[in-house]
Symmetry: C2
Subunit: 179 residues, 2 copies
DNA sequence: ACTGATTAATTCAGTTATGAACTATAATGC
DNA sequence: GCATTATAGTTCATAACTGAATTAATCAGT
């Protein structure tokens, strides 16, 4: 018996990717190396974190998306948010959010009630006691993962990276919601 | 008639997200603000770029994933790669890659043949003439997207961001393939 | 008040992605 | 040579996600 992990491929060595980007730029000069590299870096980082988080969370019966929803609620002022806030915060489309929350509600981790404040279209999602407990049981593992991401980064470097990424985010948000 | 765009949510304003992360940190001090912010930034950036690219590519009958495969092949030395190289480069799992390439082969954009060099397990994927043509028709739009990502970034800032992201990638790769 | 446009959330059909199992070939050790 | 182990690629069942349509409630202008 084999296959303890997905064979996938050697995702390491971004060097080959860079060589490809360079060649593309040669064949099609308008294609800018720098931007392409950045976008691909972001893509790879996101994919790896996603996979690593999934691997950790699987044994608790959750995936990275579920976790993201739970931690957003955990961080919110009263452990409660509307679906649309939550979707925006977690970067999930509303249709997907409904599905995810259905699952979390079914498992008793999240509560879904009509929003008491006026607007009867709205819904309030909140962590149940069990949701809080599960999340807090998960947090050490996830915290450790985050720590390992930051190995070798000086505080000033983290700040700088954060600042630059925020500007990048500003730019890419303008792509979808133009003006 | 309404709904010209998915309602989704206000993905803008990362500020609320930061407030949540701060609260989480207060309730669970081991949870580091900086790392969490960075990971969520990466997630949001990737999601937005993905959506924007999909919107552009849709009218050509492709999605962002398809495009990524094609551009990898385009950038490779002889417009040809093995599935596993390609999967690694594009950040796709092998099972998914098979499916994607099936589609591209069916549409006559990609050629799939036995790798001529010895190893009979291997397969070679390459761009067809049509694949090259379609890709080159697409590239101006995608190039423009990339350009808009970089608005307001000085060359030195791009370099710095690239360097920092590469280090981050190094760290996150170690998460999945430990040691 | 009433019409038309917006917004919140969900539903739905179709697409895309995942983990595990499987087949076939190649490499390694003995 | 032969057994063991590893790798390349695919298949399959299931899960996750998407865009568009739908329902219901609010809002804005008149």
């Amino acid at each position: 018996m084999h296959s303890r992990k997905t064979p996938a491929a050697d995702s390491g060595s971004f060097a080959a990717t860079e060589a490809r980007i360079r060649r593309t730029h040669q064949r099609f000069p308008a294609f800018r190396r720098d931007a392409a590299v950045l976008v691909r870096l972001v893509r790879h980082i996101q994919a790896q974190v996603h996979d690593a988080a999934n691997a950790i969370l699987r044994e608790h019966g959750l995936n990275h998306t579920d976790y993201n929803i739970l931690i957003m609620l955990y961080g919110s002022a009263d452990h409660a948010m509307n679906p649309s806030q939550l979707g925006g915060a977690a970067g999930e489309k509303s249709a997907n959010l409904t599905r995810i929350c259905n699952g979390l509600v079914d498992r008793g981790l999240v509560d879904r009630v009509a929003d008491p404040h006026g607007d009867r279209r709205k819904v309030l999602l909140s962590l149940t006691r069990r949701g809080v407990e599960l999340l807090e049981a998960l947090l050490p593992g996830m915290t450790d993962l985050l720590d390992r991401c930051m190995l070798g980064f000086a505080p000033a470097e983290r700040d700088q990276l954060e600042r630059l990424l925020k500007r990048l985010l500003g730019n890419v948000e303008a792509l979808v919601h133009p003006a």
